[in-house]
């Protein structure tokens, strides 16, 4: 909840590449978070739910399988940098896609409840955007 929610997926976030759709995602949290904080990526593109196991993620110039993020605790997603979700859906420059994303960030220093579980801060996006062509 708040002004940063609208910036999680921006008007220019979609790029069509040779192997699918890239979605640039910006954090709705105010500080850099370690990569395991990317706890929940519920993504639906054009009505098709994308299994996180199909996703890979580029952050700080390195591409990780989504499942590998949980162990990358010494890498941080900086406040103003996008990370890129690589999504295996067919696309082309100029094509429109409806992107529905529930991004749940695990906040590692806010522990809740008797079991001291990190707070998960959600941000929901539902936008229809046009994919740009990949820059070469």
């Amino acid at each position: 909840m708040g002004p940063l929610d609208d910036q999680v997926v921006r008007a220019d976030s979609l790029t069509a590449t040779a192997d699918g759709l890239d979605i640039a995602v910006y954090s709705h949290w105010y500080r850099a978070l370690p990569l395991p904080s990317l706890a929940r990526v519920d993504l639906t593109v054009d009505g098709r739910r994308i299994d996180p196991a199909e996703l890979s993620v580029t952050v700080n110039g390195t591409r990780h399988p989504f499942s590998g993020l949980a162990e990358a605790g010494d890498e941080y997603w900086f406040t103003t940098d996008p990370l890129v979700l690589h999504v295996p859906v067919e696309t082309a420059p100029g094509r429109e896609h409806r992107v529905q994303l529930l991004l749940g960030l695990s906040i590692p220093y806010i522990l809740t409840g008797p079991d001291r579980v990190p707070l998960v801060a959600p941000s929901a996006t539902d936008k229809t955007l046009t994919a740009a062509g990949a820059r070469t």
């Binding site: 940063l4 105010y30 500080r31 850099a32 406040t79 590692p108 522990l111 959600p122």
Partner: protein, 343 residues
């Protein structure tokens, strides 16, 4: 700079206030710090390391030199670096005490390298880690302060445990950082904007504000909030937003900050909006006259970092203008003659 008279608390700004400003195209650390200085919003400068410093907590020598250069060029005085203990870094487990100590220690060393005289940690940095940090704090000359943020109060067991520790150790290097979120007199009006976007009805927002303001411990009010919000048709996500209002805004009496002294190493001037009222600048949600009285009576001469946080709810207001108003208000309150004791 908004200099206060000698012997009084000093004012300053935390870059956290500029969270939305930081995201604007063309902004970087240097431009934010320079604008804080140009608008006379010092002399103190605080920042959240993980928010403002790319590469934190492992800054190389060049990065340290660059950040120091930015601060030096601004003429501002480093007051506090907010650091974090990310205990829940990995899924399914918390860091061990050894890991936690190392996670914080590397950041305290980083703060010292950047010239900050104090760091802010959260309540998750408990007595054991704080005790282990003392020799390092002493050696580096960096004070370590635990932030007392809503929903914490003086009575919360982890706070009481720290108070006992600080009293026993009797050291200037460890202490508290009061944050005014813990002692508010009303839920800020800026939440209305966020609730509108989230589809929460004005009636439900009003109900939550009323319940919040009623006497009694906040924890005991959750069941009634949940029941009445459910009756009004709130979705689970909306209920989460309403619950957050109870968590983010505490109702401790501001006079009770006196009980944290003499173990106060820094102060967060948290606020959500200053308005121009019939009697001049005023804060509808925080009783600054009461806070200023405590700080003056306790002889506090450290920094009060203006921490504007309504950006979490609304982008309607200029954080720079808001801090200007808060500084003008605080300077007037702090420099006012002490009230004549009525008792």
């Amino acid at each position: 700079m908004t200099d206060t008279a000698p012997g009084l608390p000093r004012l300053g700004t935390t870059l956290f206030s500029l969270t939305l400003e930081q995201r604007r195209p063309g902004r970087d650390l240097a431009s934010l710090v320079a604008e804080v200085a140009a608008r006379d919003l010092g002399p103190g400068l605080e920042m959240v390391a993980f928010q403002s410093l790319r590469g934190w907590p492992r800054l190389d020598d060049d990065a340290v030199r660059e950040v120091r250069g930015v601060i030096d060029a601004s003429g501002l005085t480093p007051s506090c670096l907010a650091i974090n203990l990310d205990l829940g870094l990995y899924p399914g487990r918390l860091l061990s005490d050894d890991e936690a100590y190392e996670y914080v220690a590397v950041q305290v060393r980083g703060a010292a390298a950047l010239g900050f005289p104090a760091v802010r940690v959260g309540i998750e940095c408990g007595p054991e880690i704080m005790t282990r940090l003392l020799p390092l704090a002493e050696q580096l000359g960096v004070k370590v302060g635990v932030e007392i943020h809503a929903p914490l109060t003086i009575e919360a067991p982890p706070v009481a445990a720290l108070k006992e520790l600080f009293t026993r150790l009797d050291t200037p290097w460890l202490g508290f950082i009061p944050d005014m979120s813990a002692s508010m007199r009303a839920v800020p009006d800026a939440v209305d904007d966020a609730h509108r976007v989230a589809g929460i009805s004005p009636e439900l927002t009003a109900l939550t504000k009323e319940l919040w303001a009623e006497p009694g411990p906040t924890m005991a009010k959750f069941p009634e909030l949940e029941r009445r919000a459910a009756e009004a048709g709130a979705t689970p996500a909306q209920l989460g937003n309403l619950r957050m209002l109870f968590t983010m805004h505490g109702r401790m009496a501001p006079e009770r900050w006196a009980e944290f002294f003499p173990h106060v190493v820094h102060v967060h001037g948290k606020f959500y909006g200053i308005v121009d009222g019939p009697d001049g600048l005023t804060d509808p949600s925080i009783d600054w006259p009461a806070v200023a009285r405590v700080l003056r009576e306790q002889g506090y001469t450290g920094f009060v970092s203006s921490e504007y946080e309504a950006h979490a709810y609304s982008d309607r207001y200029s954080a720079f203008d808001q801090i200007r108003s808060q500084h003008d208000m605080l300077k007037r309150l702090l420099e006012a003659e002490p009230a004549v004791a009525a008792r």
